[in-house]
């Protein structure tokens, strides 16, 4: 359903010349599965998900959603996904109903079908009481619900949640986890990015730990705990990050040493 192969994204950077946000990332997610993209801030999670939602173009590599290439068939990809971000992205001066209806129409859903669909979603997500409340007057939890309703209004096969539980209180976060579980049960292919271990453990069938744009490890939770001989997933996560940091420092020190060793040779060469 979602296939990502050797996906790379780099940006020009004033300090370093080039900043690699994603470095040859590969993963695949099947229908009825929740794939957790786990990593600290700046790991490249949002970049990967933005490429999947076609708002960013990859520098290299391949990403296919529902069989469509994100670069060559962005229009079809956008029809196949629902995207929920951490900042809820709700229009302040629109009511919950108007907002969901607007996106439903953008997805080309016929009026009658749209109304039926919205009634069902509003009932399922228990949103009827905020139906006519403007975005500006909603709590974060309400806004996130509207955001989810907006993302699933066209019944897409793939759902992307980018740190969707960020800033939610315990009750709402719990409700969100339940909603996502429900969506999995209905056969959706879900990609869920987070840095909260508890959510990963509760929700994800498979995870990939992303750090500095690279996948450090991926697989089911059971696979990972077994592979790294660590039963506590949070510990496992930090262990992988620390190992990566050490390798990174060693690489920098190594390149400095190589430069230092090469310098006299170069000087000698130039003197000659």
């Amino acid at each position: 359903m979602v296939e990502v192969e050797q996906l790379t994204k780099s940006y020009p950077d004033l300090m370093t010349g080039k900043f690699v946000a994603l470095d040859h990332v590969s993963f695949a997610v099947q229908p009825g599965q929740i794939f957790g993209l786990l990593g600290p801030n700046g790991a490249g999670k949002t970049t990967a998900l933005r490429i999947l939602s076609t708002v960013l173009q990859p520098t290299s590599g391949l990403a296919r959603v529902n069989g469509f290439d994100v670069t060559t068939h962005p229009y079809e990809v956008r029809h196949s996904i629902g995207f929920v971000s951490s900042n809820t992205a709700i229009y302040d001066r629109m009511t919950a109903w108007e907002m969901v209806e607007y996106f439903g129409r953008l997805y080309g859903i016929a009026s009658e079908r749209l109304t039926d669909r919205m009634e069902k979603i509003f009932a399922d997500l228990q949103m009827n009481e905020i139906r006519d409340v403007a975005g500006a007057r909603m709590s974060t939890g309400m806004r996130q619900k509207v955001s989810i309703a907006r993302a699933i209004v066209h019944d897409p096969p793939v759902l992307i949640f980018d740190e969707a539980s960020l800033g939610l209180d315990v009750m709402v976060a719990r409700a969100l986890v339940d909603i996502i579980s429900g969506l999995r049960a209905s056969g959706k292919c879900i990609i869920f990015s987070t840095h909260i271990m508890r959510e990963v453990e509760r929700l994800c069938d498979r995870v990939a730990i992303l750090y500095r744009g690279r996948i450090l490890a991926s697989g089911s939770l059971a696979d990972l705990t077994e592979r790294y001989e660590e039963t506590d997933f949070e510990e496992l996560f930090f262990k992988l990050l620390r190992t990566s940091d050490r390798a990174h420092q060693a690489a920098i020190a190594g390149s400095d040493a190589v430069m230092a060793m090469a310098a006299p040779t170069l000087e000698a060469g130039s003197n000659r």
């Binding site: 076609t54 708002v55 173009q57 229009y75 607007y102 955001s147």
Partner: protein
Amino acid sequence: MNWRHIQLIYHREMRDQLRDRRTLFTIAVLPLLLYPLIGLLMMQVAQFNREYSVRIRVVGHENWPQAHPLLDPQRKLSLPASATEPARLIEFSTEPWPVDGEDLEGLRRTSSSAVQLDFVDAVLIVKPEFQAHMQRRLASASIKVEAGNAPEVATDLAEGDGVAEQATAPKFIDDGLELVVNLARDHSQLAQSRLQRVLDSWQQSWISKELVLAGISPQLVEPLALSQTDVSPVSVRRAMLWSKVLPFVMLVWALTGAFYPAIDLCAGEKERGTLETLLSSPARRNEIVWGKLFTVATFSISSALLNLFSMHATAGLIVKQLALAGSSQAADALGPLPIHALGWLVLLLLPMAAFFSALALAVAALARSTKEGQYYLMPLLLVTLPLVSLPMIPSLSLNLGTSLVPVSGAVFLVRSLIEGRYAEALMHLPVVVMVTIACCLLSIRWAIRQFESESVMFRESDRWNLQSWLHHLWRDRGMTASPAEAILCGLIILVAMFFAQFMAGSSIADWNAVVRMTVAVQIGLILMPCLLMAIFLTRSLRHALRIHHVQPSHLAAAICLGVTLHPTYTALGNAIRYVYSLGDQIQAALAHFSQLIYAQPLWAVLLLLAVMPAICEELTFRGFIFGGLVKQGGALRAILITSLFFGFTHTILQQSIAATIMGLMLGLIAWRTGGVVCCIAVHVINNVLSIGLAWLPANHCELPPSLSWCLRVENDTWLYQPQWHTISVGIALVMIAILFNRSPETQRVVQVEAL
């Protein structure tokens, strides 16, 4: 493009904006309140101004001719009733004041202090010799009357006070009157102007009296009565002032009305995160831009129209008030604008609103937040306001030059339409329409590109500092310049040329000066900035200047194109000079310049004025600058901007227009051939032919009979034969087709360059 998406986005954005109190206040409420309030304020201020009586102290009134005093014992003007109108708001006082010393200097000091300390608005010092001066004037006039020179006397006397003198008349520089004023104060200025009118009235009455005494009718000195027939309809007269003011007000509001919604719809949406959601929806980028553009344009139009009508209605009421107060002249000039004029204004508004809206959207897309967006309003205003205000300059009117200026051309056109000059408007309509459509399309395209650009839509906050930036410039040098570096290079050249014009002086004395000036301009001002930037900011001089291997067939076609394009270029130059004749001064300077170069050997002239400029200009404009601008698929941008830079570097307007058009052709060749060599060939040949065909006949060379099929001699100049004009166009088209046919190698070069 899916129109349903555009419609949906438009409806949503409209609803969103209409629910925003701030937008509604700025767009709808403010105009309705603003003008009535301004009107009220102006009327109050005007009333205050009208009622102010200036205070003038007359010192030494006893020195005034007793037979014809200025003031009566009650210090009122001692003039016939008809002549006292100017003095209605003057309070005269004649009490003596303690004088600092006996002499005139003391009087001046005291008067100055009194005026500076605002005890009075002005002091009129009547010196003791005033009477004698007036008698001398009278005596001088009497002599001339006796000599039978009556009209001259009349003129001389009427002018008075030595303000404007006849060459033969005696000059009365000092009549013994002195006014002490403080011109830095408005009331003092007012006192000066009112007193001047009083003195004029007094002088007129004095002359009339003396003429009667001399047995001459005072009618002699009355101004000539000019009976006037105004053929302009009242509606057009009324439209005159409005046609200058209203477009300005309307367009400024169209821009302001576009800007704030644009900020909210771009930067505001980025801030709220809703833009990312919209970008990941099925709506394509261009559909999103069109939907937002229609919204912004709707607000721009509404804002402009509401301001237009509110201002017009308020002015109408004020005019009525003026008419009631008896100021019929003002009422006539500011009367209600005819309905057809309003129609033309609305017609002007539509494309302008589209243009401003697209510009505002493109600029607003750059901002990450609404706060940042506000900062972009000023640069946008600085760019567009001169275009909007240009038509307010009194000496400018609709012509080919002004019709080519974006925005201004359309305003000039509408002004002509309002003032009923339909033939003039119709003549320039195609150019104005083309320029306006081009501006609208380019600005919309820019807005769409902004929305398609990842770096614009997802711009992160800069970690900018000078050291890192300089390091980045050196470390991240590309094979060619960046678009920003290319534009900077063009701007540096233009600024350098602007200052060089002032430093070079006006005249070129001899051939050595021609050599010095040409070398300095071409190498110092045009090639040098480009070379320095290419050396320091790119990795490869050859790539930066676009010096690539060229196919022999392309080179041959370019040379042939240079030859066959020249007749058309000559005709273009003639057409431009026909529309914009060269000024006498420029013609004289060009004639002098021609004489200098005709006296030199042809090879030297061609090397200096044909070959060197072609190489320098092509390496700079179609090389470095084009190479930078063509990046990221900016071929059209590169062609347009390089041709404009190229045009602006030619200082004479007529040359600039021709060069800009030629620049478009050279830009096309530069794009299709992927390099600069063919452009140099075309440019060199064009220059060589232009100079050669002038130099040879000027040096009395005979036209070879073998060339008579394409050239003829007329008035000692060589001109192209009409049939060669036609044939050359055909051959040029074939050559262009050959040049435009890219080889696989060129295709690869162009593709790499466009990345």
